[in-house]
Symmetry: C2
Subunit: 708 residues, 2 copies
């Protein structure tokens, strides 16, 4: 079986560590006697069998989130924030499910969650040889990436053609050392079963996001439906609940501090094996710039939102999303510094060098590997801030973004075919021209965009001009906000005739006297250069980076796990408090008392009356006597990242005890390194989920289905 | 001895509580056997003797702060923030003591701290009878206040004439039930001995203000000097150190969690016996309005400060002061809600009513007392928001403030003498006219003031118009910021001729067509009405409020202590951690590790290199083995408020273990009620002070003087 040997070389440490997002196969290789002593009562086969599945196969992917089957009838538990769009889409002003929550009374009341797809793992195949053969033909770093992407598209298309209702993807491990084809059942008839009111599922909002202590009931239930023959098909009234091979029973006992738990799911992306140079650049350049730029952008948007209720409503999702990224950037700056990540990387590199030099064979096998990665990362570091400036402008300034894209493709069109960007085609050029033509820009929109650009320029222009993209570096010394106002003064692109002329190609761009057109043109050129460079770097990483990771693998031996890449992983953990700062200790659990403590009667701390009333009563069957109340959220030292939202957390019996939904602020930078003192994930306790189903927005049928 | 019977009726509870800011005499009446069991090793006489003083007399007042003599040579320890002005005043660009700190090498290097005065308690006298006799002549509520103020001025003037170099004041206790004359030695030759760098003394700045965990080295040392004959006199080169009767030795042992401590000092103002009506009005009206208004004002000022380094420097003190009040208001709203103060008051009032009705004699003695105070407080509550609006405009808008004062006195001048405000005189009117004439207003100043007014109006206009002062309520429904712009559009008072004409009296005000002049005129009328009403309320409180407090005194019996009023008090406490929120616990101490953790290399967390270097070494004699490091700050459940800044904290032996400098956020609302779970004061640990003197900005002479 290909799967069994995939990471046979890697292995796993005898004493399983709480650090690590382990591949299922690696997890099987742990010392299970030791795991048993820590409290794991499952056998290897019950937990995971490459062919027969096992408990782990109850963990599924839904959107960018993780989730779990928790009944034989296709019931899926995930986070409220993972189901947000589906809940919103079923809400109207008259029947506001987002605000009031939703509990289907019986299957026929379940609501279609259009766009939500549940992916169930079917099997994995090693396609490394085929990928390596395809890539070997590359004549340049950039071509290597194109060939890789092309081969992946080909494998996916072939497999999906052979197996309908599956979704295939190829995951690259260890900078391209291995490639796995993941074949997954794709269930697209997903229905909303239960959502708590937003004031439970999102309580704390942006105030509490990324923070402990937490009191968020961040859960929702969906159900996967398939055709009567058991095969997936689109939404249909005669569809029947999907019957998963495995589901997680809900725990009946009390979870306690110190208990072993496992976090199952699909973590998105970590960068645990970065060099010191790469970490330093992120800490001192990328994240501070991102934080500054987004703070400015958010200031502009919030001021705009304060102008009218309509503006407030229209901008709320955008503000929420940006605030999340901004707080993440802040956490990165904080955590990289506090965890001394760069210093620890330097120490590691020194130890790695010693190890390398201790054995001549090893030294020649890995010759120049550290220098190679440091060199590549230093090259990337030189452009990190510049690329971030370009990205922030494109992401936040819609008009400029469309203009810069049009300018980019106009310039490509004018190039000799062999020098063109490989992604250029007449179709993408035409599409960008169409978007430019369709633009509707009014004075208010221009004013807002000018202020957004101003905020980004102001944040960017604090950098040395050598770190800026050319379009921005020529503004060095200027006042960012003033410059943006000047760029937008006398804007001509509101005139359809001007846009028409720009669609004609390069001369209209380069001869325009509108400073905004000139700026967008230059930004388009920066974008071209950036994409080209990034592709070459990516291609070089497939060689230099792969050698680096292979050396790391050999050096670290059995404690090596591949970076998160959206594939199924297991994280071993204990329920565990931590020390957020000198002078403070957390507890491992929060309780309903904290919900009452935070209650303000206004957002984001306005609990539903039914919750407040029920929280005042004692004697619920979901109370933990040890906590003298109903547990709400808990901490564990699980190794998680984005993508682990909705991850089932199971106890040693394999029973569902909670749903992961966040990390603590001190662990935002955990993507770059796990830390026993501060790496804590936050889960909503299943007892709080059940307490809600019984007391707040009652759902007796659902409780029964869950075994209560 | 009058002193011994002053509060004889009050007494003190047998088991001394940690709640209470006790008068020295009350503290003597505690059960000292019980105190001894808790760890107090002093005898009553060692602690405090009305004639011979005792340890307590080492606690002195300096500015609005508390402080302590800590050597026989007049050395005074207080907070850095209490000595801030003196340190700043001795700083120049070349020799920046604020930034770099200061350590005098010998007495001749000590620097004059002009304006700082040390007040040493000499004696107290009961002047109740004389005050009551004077007040009895009042024909109205308002007159009662005037007579009270007049008699106090007379007593003070007589005593100070008899005893030079003393400073006298009359404190009113229990809404005028008792009056004490405090006679204090006034030492005005005060010199700066030691100040840590601002980056130690103020580390954390506004970020950490009112919060735990804390790592601020908020201490400074001064020395009191007197003439060679021992009598106070102004600064003179031949002055000699003052020799206090008592000073506090510095503790040599380790302070530990659970230890008994005493906080000594001069708390400024608490309102522990407010009625439910008064608390409700503060919670729902006063503090939310203040927080909103100051948030708006700070937004304007911070935007202004961001325009240039000069503006930033010029506005920094103002922003700091306002941010402190804003965060305090936020803490009040938070704490009054979280501690359920209104609900607890209602419960208390119900129990009080039961107690009253249980005894007919008692009932007739206190007839109508609860109704009386509720009625008075409800009357005050009706105007609380309105008065706050007027105050915030006057405090934050300098031009409008001066105009409104001039308008007020112009209106008074036009009244018949018998209807005039008793504080009116030709002198105050002339002074206000002079200020109006001297005004220098430029466009930038007008623009800033318009935006400040706009922020206050915006915050105010969210209230029902019935709660607004007439000058503002007529703007109801308007956009606050827009209205402010309109009021300032076409401002005429920049013209000296216009100001000249306004100085001529009422007609110029009422006939002006400048909307700003009309607004200032109306605000002046509001001010007149407000002052008159407040005086009448204050006078009524001297009757109704006094009856209420007397009833409280009888009801509460031995656990009653008078509200803080700037007089010498003792708070009994234990070193004690707390639970800031569900899910978090504090520790009782912070350590140097936390200083390193918070270090950012930029304000407000940029520690001096010498500190960072020393903090990396182990083995200091000031380390506490139990904490595995040097303690920095600690928590106790002492009952403190504003004015307790710099208060010496002593252990059971009467030795100095720390200096109080703040409270935790959850205790900001402690002014309205003490709470065993959350009432915590924060002190800087004397071991951190000593560690600084040894390692950061070394001062071996000072260490020696302190016994190290």
């Amino acid at each position: 079986m290909p799967l069994l040997v995939l990471f046979g070389l890697l292995g796993a440490p005898a004493t399983p560590p709480d650090e690590g997002q382990w591949l299922p196969q690696q997890f099987l290789e742990f010392d299970w006697d030791e795991l048993k002593r820590r409290g794991l009562e499952l056998s290897r086969d019950e937990f995971w069998h490459p062919e027969r599945g096992g408990l782990l196969s109850a963990a599924v992917q839904i959107g960018g989130c993780s989730a779990a089957f928790c009944s034989p009838d296709g019931l899926v538990a995930t986070n409220h924030h993972c189901g947000f769009a589906a809940i919103e889409q079923n809400s109207t002003v008259e029947r506001n499910l987002l605000r009031d929550g939703f509990a289907a009374r019986g299957r026929d009341e379940e609501l279609p969650a259009r766009g939500m797809v549940v992916y169930v793992m079917k099997r994995m195949e090693d396609v490394t040889d085929r990928m390596h053969a395809a890539i070997a033909k590359a004549g340049s770093d950039a071509e290597r990436v194109l060939l890789m992407e092309e081969e992946i598209r080909r494998i996916v298309a072939e497999t999906e053609a052979r197996e309908p209702a599956t979704s295939c993807s190829v995951a690259s491990f260890l900078n391209g050392k291995s490639y796995h084809l993941h074949v997954r059942t794709r269930i697209e008839d997903v229905r909303l079963v239960y959502a708590p009111p937003r004031s439970v599922g999102e309580v704390g909002g942006e105030d509490d996001n990324w923070l402990w202590p937490r009191h968020t009931g961040d859960f929702a239930f969906f159900r996967a439906y398939v055709g009567p023959d058991g095969n997936p098909r689109p939404h249909h009234p005669e569809n029947v609940p999907y019957r998963p091979r495995h589901h997680l029973p809900v725990a009946r006992g009390h979870l306690r501090e110190g208990d072993l738990v496992l976090v199952l799911g699909y973590p998105g992306r970590t960068e645990r094996y970065l060099s010191s140079a790469a970490v330093a650049a992120r800490q001192t350049r990328l994240y501070p710039l991102r934080h500054r730029a987004l703070t400015g952008v958010l200031g502009v948007l919030e001021e705009q939102a304060s102008r009218s209720p309509e503006a407030s409503l229209r901008l709320s999702t955008r503000i929420k999303a940006l605030a999340n990224v901004q707080k993440n950037a802040q956490g990165m700056v904080f955590g990289l510094r506090r965890n001394r990540v760069e210093a620890r990387k330097l120490e590691e590199e020194a130890r790695f060098r010693e190890w390398l030099e201790a054995d001549p064979g090893r030294l020649s096998r890995h010759e120049g590997v550290l220098e190679g990665i440091l060199d590549l990362d230093a090259e990337e570091a030189r452009h990190l801030a510049s690329d971030e400036v370009v990205s922030q402008i494109l992401r936040n300034c819609a008009l400029i973004g469309i203009m810069a894209q049009a300018a980019l493709w106009a310039a490509e069109e004018a190039r000799e075919p062999e020098h063109r960007d490989p992604r250029y085609s007449a179709r993408v050029r035409d599409e960008s021209v169409r978007m430019l033509g369709r633009l509707e820009v009014d004075e208010a929109g221009l004013d807002l965009e000018a202020r957004l650009l101003g905020a980004i320029l102001e944040a960017s222009l604090r950098l040395p001009s050598i770190e800026l993209p050319p379009s921005v570096s020529r503004l060095a010394g200027a006042d960012g906000r003033e410059t943006a106002r000047m760029l937008f003064a006398g804007c001509t692109v509101t005139d359809p005739a001007v846009r028409q002329s720009l669609a004609q190609g390069v001369p209209a761009w380069t001869s325009s006297e509108d400073p905004l057109v000139r700026f967008a043109w230059e930004l388009g050129q920066d974008l071209h250069v950036m994409r080209h460079r990034q592709r070459a770097q990516q291609g070089r990483r497939l060689v230099v980076g792969r050698r680096w990771i292979e050396a790391q693998e050999e050096w670290r031996g059995r404690s090596f796990y591949p970076d998160a890449n959206g594939t199924l992983r297991v994280s071993l953990a204990s329920v565990r408090a931590y020390e957020p700062a000198d002078g403070l200790r957390s507890t491992a659990f929060t309780t309903l008392r904290g919900v009452l403590e935070k209650e303000r009667g206004e957002d984001p701390f306005r609990s539903p009356p039914a919750l407040l009333e029920a929280a005042g009563r004692r004697g619920s069957r979901f109370e933990d006597p040890a906590l003298q109340g109903v547990p709400v959220c808990f901490l564990a030292d699980g190794d998680t990242t984005g993508g682990n939202s909705g991850s089932p957390i199971v106890n040693g019996k394999g029973e569902l005890v909670g749903l992961n939904f966040d990390r603590v602020f001190e662990n935002v930078a955990g993507d770059f390194g796990w830390n026993p003192e501060r790496s804590r994930n936050i889960g909503v306790d299943i007892r709080y989920v059940l307490w809600n189903l019984e007391n707040v927005l009652p759902a007796p049928e659902l409780l029964q289905e869950l075994g209560f």
